[in-house]
Each structure stands twice: as structure tokens, then as C-alpha cells.
Amino acid sequence: MTKTEITQNRMKQSLLAARSLVFPDRPDPAKSRRIAEGRLVASCFIALAVFITIGVRIVTLATATEAASVSPVPLAGTTERGQILDRRGRLMATNLPMTVLHADPSEIMDVTEAALQLAPLIAHHDEASLTRLLQKDARYVELDRKLTPERHAAILGLGIPGINFRDGMLRAYPRGNAAAHILGQVDTQNHGIAGVEKSMEAQLLAGNDVTLSIDIGMQAILAKEISSQINDFEAIGGAGVLLDIRSGEILAMVSLPDFNPNHLGKISADARFNRATKGLYEMGSTFKVLNTAIALETGAVRMGQTYDVAKPLRVARFTINDFHVYKRPLNISEILVYSSNIGSAKMAEAIGPQTQRLFMEKLGLLDHLPLELPEIGRPLTPRQWKRIETMTVSYGHGISISPVHLASAVGAASGDGLWVTPTLLKRQTGDNPIKTRVFSAETTRNVRSMMRLVVSHPDGTGNFAEAPGYMVGGKTGTAEKILGNGYDKKANLATFVATFPVHDPRYVLAVMVDEPKGQKKSYGYATGGWVAAPAVKRIVEQAAPLLGILPVDEESPEIRQKLRVDLQIGEEKKTLATF
């Protein structure tokens, strides 16, 4: 054998070996049988493993109860929408079982006959509209969402094929218009489209109740008194906020005109509009409270310091005027009590733009509030914050905020100096509201005492807000509204922001009346003092007893101790203690 032959042989052998790896020689039957048996046993184990895996999975799925909540589409009718309650647990939104009447047009044999028979029994349809519905090329048309039991029985009695009934849930608001803007509404599929119904959708859908910070009683008082002022002064609307400044809870919040959330549709955009949270207004002189507090807090101004307010203030092309002209210099208490724009602007100049802006930010006035509502407005603030803007902001112009913004900011300036995030949900025991210190206790004591004088001093602008014994302090505001290109002399915004009781500050009440017209009995005036202040007086008189506030004697030493009694108002040395 030559070498080449050996090599060839080897190659042949290795080729054969490779071939047998792929195409093995047919084994004898017995071996085939053994291979088959072995492989079948192996298959048994694989099958067993597969079945055990499925079994384990079944048990996991069945015992995992949270798997149901994973579902993105909640099945209609499986959980009832949660209720909305007021702070004392009284029902504000609930569900009523209702029968929904619907039809399958393809099953209706005689449309004319069916329409004729059904027409008198269905609320929102006549024969013609029913005929049109029943002729639709659809498998489902809804005829009535709120079928009464009597009509249900009557329609059953007609025995029309293709007419079907289904259990439905009707969202009902037993208090009608009260708190309509807070509650909002649901659509025909019971999904929230406004208010808390929308913002708390997830929680309500899960079947959980929502308890609001609102007190229905307070809500009714505010609505009644503000709407009476709107009527008396032929105003176009109004708003009011009652805030607990210690917890940040909003006890009442109204926006007028309002609507009945039980009726879907047919509601004007104006009625739907929430003036209290979404409406942005220049708040006018009520801002002087904040201005005074900032000036005192920063040390830019001392107590008792005076300013010359005799001449109008000219800044660039603007002129700042006062309602009355005071020839003598006014101290800062007088500037607030008489509501001097010139004095406020001069105080603001001492504060400076940066500092003022910083305080406005701390008071939550530069951004929208984290309220539990979809309808919240973001304040309109000066684009550039220079000297002139600082001056106008001091008396509430050049910055537009919502009434809730105003209430929470004044709450910080007249309470214990802390700014508390306002909320529409009842605080539960244990949850601490977020509080930021803005003012010292000394500053707010001074501010409160001045606010008291606005109401109690005969020369104050807010005398009509006096509710004897309840120690109301406050500040009036009358702002000309911007309509079109400039300020409109006839379109006013009359506001009053009150804090009570001033010796133990707990509540802030902001009342705003939109475009009141001067009346004979108000000598043609439509100012905050004439329009909003009387509402505040009546609201406090009714609300204070419900809030557990007892009337006090202002002259008693305990009360006087808590206020500054040495504030000088007017040329004769009239002080807080003199009447």
C-alpha cells in the first residue's frame, strides 16, 4: 500500500464516519425499540413539567387578588362609584339605581307602532324623534337613562320586542346647586368631567368615598349672602372663600352664578366658570394688607413711620392718585385704614422689587395652587418686575390672582405668619399640612390690629363688615376691571377680605362681587366697603356661632392684650381703645 493509498483510505473512512453521523445506519429493530422507549420516557418528563408549570400559574393567578385591579378597563357595574361627603359626612354626591331603557332597532318589527306607544312614556322624546332613533342602523340605541318604576312597568306591559332594560346608576347631587363648582359633574358614562369628580376620578372609580373639607352649612351661608349682594347691586357674579388658616382647609367656596350638577347640558359657560379658583382678578386695595406685612417684616418700614401723601405720585408716564387727598403725612396704620395708594406705593419702594417678588412667591401668588380641582388658574404676574410694577402691585394692580390665592395669602399675613397650602379635602388626623413661615408673630399682630381698625374705626373703609363681638378685621378693595384695552371706570370688582376673630385668628373670609352697579341706597357707590363688606358681616354673624366662636367684649383686658392698642388714627389721638 502506498502512502497515497493509505491517505485516501483514511479520508474515505473519515468521510463515512461523518456521513454516519448525519445518516446513521439503520439500527436493528430491537435497538430502534429501545431508542423509542427511552425517548418516550424523556417526553413524559417534559409533558409533566409543562403541565405542572400551567398548574402553578393557575394557582398564582387565582390567588393574586390584585390582578383584578391591573385591568385597565373597569367593567361597568362591578364597583359603584364612590360617594362625595362634606366634612361632617353629609352626602354631596351619591348614586341612585335607575333603569336604562334601550332598544335594538334590528329587532323592532313595527317602528311606527312602537314609537306611537312609547312616546307618552319617555321624557325627552316625541313620536318623531323616537321613530328616527328606532330606524337607526344600529344594534343599540338609548331611549331613556332615568326611567321611573311606573314607566318601567308600563313599558314592560306594552311587550314590544327589541325594547330592553338595563340597570344603570345615576349620579345624583342631593344638595343641588350647593358646591356645584367643587363637585363638578359626570358624563353619561359616569366619568368625571369637572371638579372633584374629575380630579378624584381614580379614587372614586375604585369605589372609595371622598370627604371634602367643605361644610355644607357654611357653603349655604356664603351662597345666600353673596348672591343677595349680587342682586342688590345688579352685579354679574361673585365669589367667596372661607378658609381655616390653621389647617388650610377650605370650609366653603362659592362661585356665582352657579348651576345644578344634576342637569347635564343646558348650562352656560359663565355659570360653569369657577370664579373662585379659575377666575383671575386684580384684587386692588386688599393687597395693601400684604404690602404692610412685607414692609414690616423686612424692616423697610417701622411702626409709626409716616409718609407724605399730599401730592399724586408720578412715575414715568403713570400717576398714582388717592381717593381722598390728605394734606398731612399719614402713618402706616392710616395708610392702610384710609387705603392710600400713594402711601402704599412709597412703602413698596422701600421694600424693593426683588424682595416684594420673593414674598409674593412665598405667599403662593406667582403660581397656581395645588388645589384638588382641574379648574385652577395660574396668576398673571408682571413680565418685568421693576420700580413701577412694585408700586402698582402694592395696591393690587398689575397682578391677577384668584380669590383662593387672596384668602391664603392674607391668611399668612394676618394669622400666625405661616402660609398653609389650601386644600378641598378634609385633613385626616395625622396628616400635617405643609406650612412655610413668611411673617413673624409680631408682624402679623401689627397687621391684624390695623385690619381691625379698618372695620372698627369710624374713618375706616370697612365699617359695614363689623359683626359686633366677633372681632372682624379686614380690608376693602375696589379695583377697576380691565375691559378691552384699558381700565373701565364703570366695571368694578368689589372685594373684602376679612380675618376673624382678630384676637385669636383662625378664619379668613374673602368675598368678591363682580361688576356691581352703584345704587341709590349706596349713594351711587359700588366699592368693596359698600358691596362686599355687608355680606362679610352677615356671613360672620351666621357662621361664627356654627364654628364655635363666642362673642367677646373688645374692651376687656384679655382681648386688648392680644392686640396693639397704641395705633394712632387721625389727628385727634383716637386709638383702638377709645371707643
Binding site: 448525519v22 430502534s32 425499540r33 418516550l40 387565582a62 383584578a68 391591573v70 385597565p72
Partner: protein, 391 residues
């Protein structure tokens, strides 16, 4: 009832048939009827049929299915092979007819109308192919020079072509799996086995790239949030261990094909996880018992044919159940004996009948195999091998 010495057709059958498998099939039929009663009315209302439509028909179909099962199980292996060959030829003819002139349901032409009934011939192709292919492979293993595996592969290629034309991916998968399993048992070289296992994901990937609905299903599986699967999962959660009670389920109202492709989910909601485990257990039992009986038979043909029939039932049940519990992408697959459907029920009856026939205890059967097997031959074998080693 029947004497052990009874040599009549029925008597012999009774004493030789595997009663465990028979009982398993009968229990499944009863459970299936119960489940279709639960799921049927909801689906019927959904597609505007009388609410008892599916229930009545299911009960009607059980009778012929039972008859087919019992009749077929009385046959001996030899006639079974002959009849299967003829049957498969006929079924392939019908399948071609279905493509050419069949009625289209949900985008696929897999149905033909026969005597007023909609029939899905491919359902019957499954067990018949298993028998014929097993026969061809056994001939290759036991015959001298018969390339059975080539014929079997050619037959598979033909069937797959028709099924892909319909298109019916689920059925294609089951038939390819059947063939693969048979080749595996018939001693396909390990190299090929490993190769096939490696190629399977590739085939799935090709299907994923080229078939729109496969792309969709697989994407849905990995992204989650498929509507049907979410509902199916929900039905397990709702049902818990003991179920919400027969007829009280609500998820079935939102599941398409609750009476067929998602009947397992209905079982989960109304009868609970316990009932699902019982169902799973019965299939598992049928598979194990079937494999065991196939092993104990002496002939290679019976082993391969019977175990591949068992595999068909097992794979179909496993795919159905695994889809329902979101272990694999949804694949419309009926649950043998349980799901609604005349073709499915009849085919299940045929499959079980064939399985029962092939697993009957028989003394004379070994003679059917041309080569005797057993310890004697094996020992001879091993001595030869020993000698070889010594040499």
C-alpha cells in the same frame, strides 16, 4: 355484565380497552357540556343567536363523537392503518375543496359545508396523519429498504402547504410537532433533534416577521394589555379558588369565543381554580396514562402512533390552557372534548378512539410486528455486542 370469557366483539373490547383512558375522555365530555352551558348563552346573545344555541348543539355533537370514539376503538391496528390511509386521502381532498370552494369564517377558508353542517376537515387530518406517518416510519425502521421517513416528510410538506394556504397556523404547528415527535421516537439522529430544537425559534421568528396576525399577537404578549388576555387573567382573579358559581361569571360577557378558544377562562371564573386544576389534572392523566400504555405495547408502530396521538391531545390542551393563563401568546386552540364545536368534538372522538384501539391489551399483537422484541432478543443483542467488544 360481560363475562371474561365473552369472545364477542363488544366483550373482547370491554375486557381489553383501557378503562382509565376511556373514563378520562367521558369525564371531559361531561365537563365540556357543563362549561358550554355556562359560556354559551353569553356568546350566543353577543352574536344574536338564541341563548341555548351552543348548548343544544354541543349536546347534539357529543352523541356522534361518542359513537365515533367507541366504534373506532373496537378496530384492530391493521384495519386502522388501512382506514386511516383512505381517510387521510379523503380529508386532504376535502381540505383542497375547502380552499377552492369553502366558506370563509374570520378570514380563513378552512370550512366546508357537508349535510348542512360546517365541517373543518383539517381537524380530522391531525389524527389520521399521525397513524399514516407512524406506519411509514415503522416500515422504515422494521422494513429492509423502505425509505419511510422520506414519504412521511413529503406527506407533511403537502399537508403544511394546504394548511398555510387556508391559513391555519395552529393546525400547522400541531401537525409539524406530531411529525417531529414521531421522527424523534423513530430514532432520528440526536444531531438532527438538536438542530430541530434550534430551528424552531427561527421558524417562529419567520412567522412573526411575515404573518401580520402572528406579529400582532406576539407583540401584544410582550407588551401586555391584550384585551382578551387581560379579561382571561381577570377571570382567574375573579374566580379565585372556588369560582363565582355557575352562570354568575361576568368576564365571559367580554370575551370573544368564550365558548371555544377561551373556555378555560370561563371555567376559571365560574368554577374556580380548583376546577381548572381538575381539568388540567385530567389532561395530564390522559397524557401520562397514554404514554404508559404506548410504552407497554410491544410493537414499534403502536408505540409511535399511540404516543403521537396522546401528544396531540396534550399539546392542544397545553396551548389552550397556557394561552388563557398568559404563559404564551394567544393562539386560538380548542380544548379537546371541552370546547364548543362539532368538528373539534368529532375529531377529539376520533383521536381518542384511535388511541383506545391502539392501546388495547392484546396477546396476539406481538405477532403483528415482524420482529419479535423482548428480553430474549435483547440479551442476544448484548452478547453480540459483548463479543464485538472482546474482538
Amino acid at each position: 355484565m360481560l363475562d371474561r370469557t365473552d369472545r364477542s366483539l363488544v366483550g373482547t373490547w370491554w375486557w381489553t380497552v383501557d378503562k382509565w383512558l376511556l373514563a378520562g375522555a367521558l369525564i371531559l365530555m361531561v365537563l365540556g357540556a357543563l362549561l358550554v352551558m355556562a359560556a354559551g348563552p353569553a356568546v350566543a346573545n353577543l352574536i344574536n343567536l338564541p341563548s341555548q344555541h351552543f348548548m343544544v348543539r354541543q349536546l347534539l355533537y357529543i352523541m356522534p363523537s361518542l359513537a365515533v370514539m367507541i366504534t373506532v376503538s373496537m378496530l384492530e391496528p391493521r384495519p386502522i392503518r388501512a382506514l386511516s390511509l383512505v381517510g387521510l386521502a379523503g380529508v386532504i381532498g376535502l381540505m383542497i375543496m375547502a380552499i377552492v370552494a369553502g366558506s370563509e369564517i374570520k378570514g380563513a377558508t378552512r370550512w366546508i359545508t357537508l349535510f348542512g353542517f360546517n365541517l373543518q376537515p383539517s381537524e380530522f387530518a391531525k389524527p389520521l396523519f399521525a397513524i399514516v406517518s407512524a406506519w411509514l416510519l415503522t416500515l422504515w425502521r422494521e422494513g429492509e429498504d423502505f425509505p419511510g421517513w422520506i414519504y412521511s416528510t413529503a406527506l407533511l410538506a403537502g399537508l403544511v402547504t394546504i394548511l398555510v394556504l387556508q391559513p391555519d397556523i395552529g393546525m400547522t404547528a400541531v401537525i409539524v410537532l406530531t411529525w417531529g415527535f414521531q421522527m424523534f421516537l423513530a430514532g432520528m439522529p440526536m444531531l438532527f433533534v438538536i438542530g430541530a430544537v434550534a430551528v424552531a425559534p427561527l421558524a417562529l421568528y419567520v412567522a412573526y416577521l411575515n404573518l401580520d396576525h402572528v406579529t400582532l399577537r406576539i407583540n401584544k404578549f410582550f407588551e401586555g394589555g391584550s384585551w382578551q388576555v387581560e379579561r382571561a387573567r381577570q377571570s382567574f382573579a375573579e374566580g379565585g379558588i372556588f369560582g363565582v358559581g355557575p352562570g354568575d361569571g361576568t368576564v365571559k360577557l367580554h370575551l370573544p369565543d368564550a365558548h371555544s378558544d377561551f373556555i378555560f377562562a370561563v371555567a376559571a371564573e365560574e368554577y374556580g381554580a380548583l376546577a381548572c386544576l381538575v381539568l388540567l389534572g385530567i389532561y395530564g392523566f390522559i397524557v401520562m396514562r397514554g404514554f404508559a400504555r404506548a410504552l407497554s405495547d410491544e410493537g414499534l408502530f403502536c408505540l409511535i402512533a399511540a404516543s403521537s396521538l396522546v401528544m396531540q391531545i396534550g399539546v392542544q390542551a397545553a396551548i389552550h390552557m397556557a394561552s388563557s393563563v398568559d404563559l404564551i401568546p394567544t393562539k386560538g386552540m380548542t380544548l379537546p372534548f371541552v370546547s364548543y364545536g362539532g368538528s373539534s368534538l368529532l375529531a377529539s372522538g376520533l383521536t381518542m378512539g384511535l388511541l383506545l384501539a391502539l392501546t388495547r391489551r392484546r396477546n396476539s399483537w406481538s405477532t403483528f410486528s415482524r420482529y419479535r422484541t423482548g428480553s430474549e432478543t435483547l440479551s442476544v443483542d448484548s452478547t453480540t455486542e459483548a463479543k464485538g467488544a472482546a474482538r
